[in-house]
Symmetry: C2
């Protein structure tokens, strides 16, 4: 993978040879995240996009406190999806003004935390607005709220569609003006809008179309705003390549449209911070999952590399997290990079289930017990999005290098 260098057959994570990273982790399996790769990714993004666009990190992609701390030093704000994420964001020293909280099922306790901290709550329903108003009255604090909008358009060819038609995310665009009126009446601090239409999209033209429609919608809604729009979160949805044939996203067309359209938006919303909210795109390629080969087994002519890691640690790589057709994540033998004595193998985990597969019929250098299997593109939705208690195996370590 382009993100990582190789030295003397060994993959380098944060410039450190993989076997040394493994010793530092103290055990296998482990996730390792590379600071430099994240830093370079944010720099490249900022260089490609208009200068005055803000970039927020969506913590749900990888909420490891050390990763959040590093990301906080690179981006302009954080988006949290739960009370626990909010605590991690505050612990990282991020200012409350730069933290927002979206999610269709915020609990009363989470809303309480959000109001107390003074972060921006992205309202997803009338019920949430009422709950926030009750907290305001009881505590005397003025909550900061934005409205998450369920647009009247869809993001095409998105990995996950999250807008258009009836949706649990956000307030239907046509109901937003009424909600803005209520926010005004209730005396809440109106921050702005959050319009998010999908995720894991690799096609620039789809993102360009969605962002164009998002800006149109924001301009329409701004007419009803009870005060100046301070934040306009236009979502993200930038994908990363996982599978053979996936092409990395081209930022050019996205940047071009934003350059063209932002002047109009700025003219109409002079105080608005325009925010691109990205999770997977910022950290996904910076992480690897590493497991150790416990056994090398030949059954009826087929070679199985049995590792101590698998679907319990990395559900998405096993192909069991919402995927219809299983495809292999990119894998390698991290201590035999570039070796040419290859064979076709199945890389499997230790679980008593045929679902526990990290690589099916992949060509890899001939590997032995003790070698390290690396699964790339594992910096997002890996550790936290996996059933780590499954079959009660040990937890993987998690380190930032």
């Amino acid at each position: 993978m382009a993100a990582f260098e190789v030295r003397e057959r060994s993959l380098l994570i944060g410039g450190v040879p993989l076997p040394e990273v493994a010793r530092r982790a103290g055990r296998t399996p482990f996730y390792a995240y590379d600071r430099q790769v994240m830093t370079r990714r944010v720099q490249a993004l900022r260089e490609a996009l208009p200068r005055d666009l803000s970039v927020h990190y969506a913590m749900k992609a990888n909420p490891m406190p050390a990763v959040v701390g590093h990301m906080a030093s690179l981006v302009d704000g954080l988006d949290v999806a739960s009370g626990r994420e909010l605590q991690i964001a505050l612990d990282a020293g991020v200012s409350a003004a730069d933290i927002s909280f979206a999610g269709p099922g915020k609990s009363p306790a989470e809303l309480e935390m959000a109001v107390a901290a003074g972060i921006t709550i992205h309202l997803e329903s009338e019920t949430e607005l009422t709950r926030v108003a009750v907290i305001a009255e009881r505590t005397g604090k003025t909550p900061c709220v934005a409205v998450r909008v369920n647009p009247d358009f869809e993001l095409k060819t998105s990995g996950m569609k999250m807008s258009g038609g009836p949706k649990v995310f956000g307030v239907d665009a046509e109901c937003v003006p009424e909600m803005l009126g209520r926010i005004d009446e209730l005396g809440l601090h109106f921050r702005g809008f959050h319009i998010f239409s999908g995720s894991q999209n690799l096609r620039a033209e789809s993102l360009v179309e969605a962002q164009g429609l998002t800006l149109d919608l924001a301009l329409r809604l701004a007419d009803h705003a009870p005060g100046p729009v301070e934040t306009l979160n236009i979502g993200g949805g930038f994908g990363i390549p996982y599978f053979p044939g996936d092409q990395p996203l081209t930022l050019g067309p996205i940047a071009e449209q934003l350059e063209q359209r932002l002047p109009e938006v700025r003219a109409r919303m002079p105080r608005a911070e325009i925010i691109l909210e990205l999770g997977r795109y910022l950290v996904g390629e910076a992480g690897v999952y590493v497991a150790e080969i416990l056994d090398r087994k030949v059954s009826r002519g087929r070679v199985f590399l049995v590792t101590n890691g698998g679907l319990h640690h990395h559900l998405a790589a096993s192909g069991n997290f919402g995927q219809v057709i299983r495809k292999n994540y990119p894998v390698a033998i991290g201590n035999r990079m570039g070796e040419t004595n290859t064979e076709v193998v199945d890389v499997v985990g230790p679980l008593c289930t045929p679902l526990d597969v990290l690589g099916q019929q992949v060509e890899l250098p001939r590997a032995e017990i003790g070698d390290l299997v690396v699964v790339f593109q594992s910096g997002a939705y890996g550790y936290t999005a996996s059933p780590r208690g499954f079959l009660s195996h040990p937890e993987p370590a998690e380190i930032l290098v």
Copy 2:
């Protein structure tokens, strides 16, 4: 669901009305498991099957220590799938002679624990045999081993095929005689065979066929045994119904074949305990997952019940754990059982992903905020098989009633 009674609109778990169970759990969401339902299930199974057949509980289905403790009082032994499960089994007071450990990727540390405890290790490869022999030599202990066999047949129409062809599970049938010779040479305590061909099967005729072939294979292999066969684990694979149209498994044909064939097996292996190993079948129907409605939201004419629980707690019910087509698990409003004022709704969780669905377009009594959504058939592969860290939401409680 037939397993649970209803009193005054309230589902009863262990005879206790659901709102009271929720108060006892101390929070929502929670998993609740019903002792009586497990007890009745094991009794019914024993009544249906030949009297001298042993029943083992495969702990991976539900390793909650209290559940394991209860199951240990009902069954003849436990099968563990990891070192942690082994500890829970020993803590439950089960004799080492009645505990077996299968799994294709046992770590050296786990093998060490297994030898120290004196349980039966189901060998899955030559490497494992060698590792166990080295531990025996170093510690002076005599390990108890059985051979897990990868049969030369498949279990048809199984939810998961785990035998036949090249597989990571067990030793290929044709290689077993040689391994038995090595076990003899190495002076290990030979316990018997483990032949397991699949799981979650609802068709009695498939199970009958597989068990017939399993017994044939066991009889052939017994000729090569280095000592008397003490245990013959014929696997399980009994399924439970999850989806509309699923019919519960009929035990009659299975019992009939076993009655016919066991005399021959007993004649050839007079000292063998013949073991049926079941997980999901024993506990799956005894458990419910319960979440609380946080919001009732109408988007463009569609009603969403937003709960505080979802795929992070119950991945399989969300349809994202290896399922190709999403189907609804049986769901109910546990405090409005039998109410006739129904509507069609989507039951969703709090996560920022459209995958977080517990029920899609299901007809339920009209529900309000604070009501309890119940997902049935949740006693197996629920709590431990879910990505509970996803989006850093609170863990569900887990209680045995």
